[in-house]
């Protein structure tokens, strides 16, 4: 019985976990509930991925209603890797949270904190699982509202400000998205992705569709912090509690990218042009700007959490660049980088979180020589940093390799050169961190740093190890990413003329 209900279970398990954690009102109990729920979710996501790889897309009708009337959940080769990634990062973040919340969250709020993490996971997984445009909006808002709460729980008072700013921007983004969905609904009379694609060719006047595309793409771009709509992201990541930052950086923006890919390839068609420029060209220009401008901004940051946040904006640029290249190698690179970047950024934010908890600071100038007193956390940060640059032997190299390959296959050598050139900027900002934490005489804070508990280090090290493993043996992620790319490009041919 369970196997047939997996598409909805993957959303229900974290939801039930969140509700039970809230009902328990007990910090320790809430953690174990959260852990069990997230591991069960991961198992469900893994089983789903297996089913999809073996037997193709799975459709699940909520309440047994026909897709034309009701909500259909649809898991295919594109959404299965995203589900797997989000569920896995959820487990890692919750294991990490057990120790970090004792320092960062007021005890009365800890149970609610786990509730918010799980509901955020449920929202993100729902966005990936659902095949209904409006249902996705609801899940988007579920995950966003819990995200605002998670950020506001940070101990710095500026966390409140960051949460408020994100709330304003995020709500505008979600509302833009739902306006676009409304226009699509008015044009096609359905909210189901499959039916929308079927009915699009019948539409004679494209004006409503162009407006819908503009609203939806801008709305999602706000959510995924595409340059220049990224202003909310650095503060949100910098002031949120460590475990929340690790969770958000590795899942929230990734699911938004997935949604963008789904709309651009499956619904609207990426090569469609509005006026003289095509959507792909506009996306490519913004991606390149993100890669260079955000990397430049990262170089001048003093707070390592902010530095990594700006680096996230730049790395999202690589992902959207892969989508804009729009051939098989490019999209494979984009999906690879979704997974690899989640792992490396998760490891980086967890490592700096451990340092923040032990040494009391995440400022670069106060952490000189921290590598000598906290070699393990600093080591994980180093591995993640090298992967951000794209050093061979780390997963970052593999995804950039595919991006460069895609650019060359598309006949754009200059693009390949720009991808490599932008990595030089990553060398600068990662190099600054590495120089300070390893090669300087230990500062006062570094010497006073306390030992890091194992429960903080374990998930950090697992993610760092995966970053290296997927750099040396990329078979598994490449298989997932290339089947996602094939599925996306396959439907793209049947989309708009």
């Amino acid at each position: 019985m369970i196997a047939a209900h997996l598409p909805v279970l993957v959303v229900l398990l974290p939801l039930f976990g969140g509700l039970l954690a809230a009902l328990s009102r007990h910090n320790e109990a809430a953690f174990w509930i959260a852990l069990v729920a997230s591991i069960a979710t991961l198992a469900a996501a893994a089983a789903l991925a297996g089913q999809v790889m073996a037997g193709g897309p799975i459709s699940y009708r909520i309440g047994g209603w026909d897709p034309a009337l009701g909500i259909e959940y649809r898991i295919d080769a594109v959404s299965a890797p995203i589900l797997l990634l989000v569920a896995a990062m959820g487990v890692a973040a919750i294991v990490y949270a057990r120790r970090s919340v004792t320092v960062e969250i007021i005890p009365e709020r800890v149970a609610w904190y786990y509730t918010m993490m799980l509901i955020c996971l449920a929202g993100l997984l729902g966005m990936a699982a659902s095949g209904d445009a409006f249902n996705i909006f609801v899940f988007l808002e579920i995950s966003s509202l819990s995200t605002y709460t998670l950020i506001a729980l940070g101990r710095d008072r500026r966390a409140l400000l960051a949460a408020y700013q994100y709330l304003i921007v995020g709500t505008i983004g979600a509302t833009f998205y739902v306006i676009g969905v409304g226009l699509l609904y008015l044009s096609t009379g359905t909210l189901n992705f499959g039916l929308i694609v079927e009915r699009l060719p019948e539409i004679t006047s494209p004006r409503a569709l162009i407006a819908a595309e503009a609203f939806i793409v801008v709305g999602i771009a706000l959510k995924l912090a595409l340059f220049p709509l990224h202003a909310w992201l650095p503060n949100a990541y910098a002031y949120a509690p460590s475990s929340a930052t690790a969770l958000l950086a590795s899942t929230a923006t990734k699911v938004a990218v997935y949604l963008l890919a789904r709309y651009l390839f499956a619904v609207f068609g990426i090569q469609r042009s509005v006026g003289p420029i095509s959507v792909a060209d506009a996306l490519m220009a913004l991606s390149l700007l993100a890669m260079f401008a955000a990397s430049l901004a990262a170089i001048f940051q003093n707070d390592i959490k902010r530095l990594l946040a700006f680096s996230s904006v730049a790395q999202i640029g690589y992902i959207t660049l892969g989508l804009a290249i729009a051939n098989e190698a490019g999209v494979t690179g984009a999906f690879l980088h979704i997974m690899n970047h989640a792992l490396m950024k998760g490891a980086a934010f967890m490592a700096i979180g451990a340092i923040l908890i032990s040494a009391g600071s995440s400022k670069l100038d106060e952490l000189a020589g921290i590598g000598r007193t906290m070699p393990v956390a600093a080591g994980a940060l180093t591995v993640a940093g090298l992967a951000l640059i794209g050093v061979p032997g780390t997963s970052g190299f593999v995804s950039k390799w595919y991006l460069v390959l895609g650019a060359i296959e598309a006949g754009r050598l200059w693009l390949a050169i720009l991808i490599v050139a932008s990595s030089v900027l990553a060398v600068l900002y990662v190099g600054r961190i590495l120089e300070v934490i390893w090669f300087r005489e230990p500062a006062k804070r570094s010497l006073e740093a306390q030992a890091v508990p194992l429960s903080l280090l374990a998930p950090t090290l697992v993610l760092a190890a995966l970053t290296i493993w997927f750099g040396l043996d990329a078979g598994f992620p490449v298989e997932l990413a290339s089947s996602a790319a094939k599925a996306l490009l396959g439907v793209s041919k049947g989309a708009l003329p």
């Binding site: 039930f16 009102r25 309440g63 047994g64």
Partner: protein, 139 residues
């Protein structure tokens, strides 16, 4: 406020009809405007009115915080459990057809129970928001 006889007496008269009206809106939701959302807000309005007139402490004696904070997730839990119950009767999630002897009655039961869950969560959220804002001192 404590000395305002008119307000206190009027409130006493209004409270009971208000709660009754909430129940009417809740159960008449199948055939007219209404349902869990509206009924929850109306019932919460009764508690909020009581709190405004008699003070927050008095309202907290009727609906204590500990109960409230359990009711919020409990309502969603009712909703989700009804959905899961559909799964155990061989339907998909939120499928109500097999909850009773035939599909029409099954749907009716499903929606009725779901609305009960909605009522609980909306009621407790509204009262919770009132407590959270009214309980703060001016900074």
């Amino acid at each position: 406020m404590r000395l305002d006889v008119v307000l206190r007496v009027t409130t006493k008269f209004i409270l009971a009809p208000l709660l009754l009206f909430a129940l009417y809106v809740q159960f008449h939701g199948d055939y007219g405007p209404g349902g869990g959302f509206q009924a929850g807000v109306i019932a919460a309005a009764a508690i909020i009115l009581y709190g405004l007139i008699n003070g927050l402490a008095a309202a907290r004696r009727i609906v204590p915080d500990a109960v409230l904070e359990r009711l919020i997730p409990a309502g969603v839990l009712i909703y989700a459990l009804v959905g899961v119950a559909g799964m155990f009767t061989g339907e998909n999630f939120l499928g109500y057809n097999h909850l009773a002897h035939d599909a029409v009655h099954g749907q009716e039961w499903g929606v009725f129970l779901v609305e009960a869950g909605v009522f609980v969560t909306v009621f407790s959220s509204m009262v919770g928001i009132f407590y959270a804002f009214a309980g703060r001192r001016r900074a």
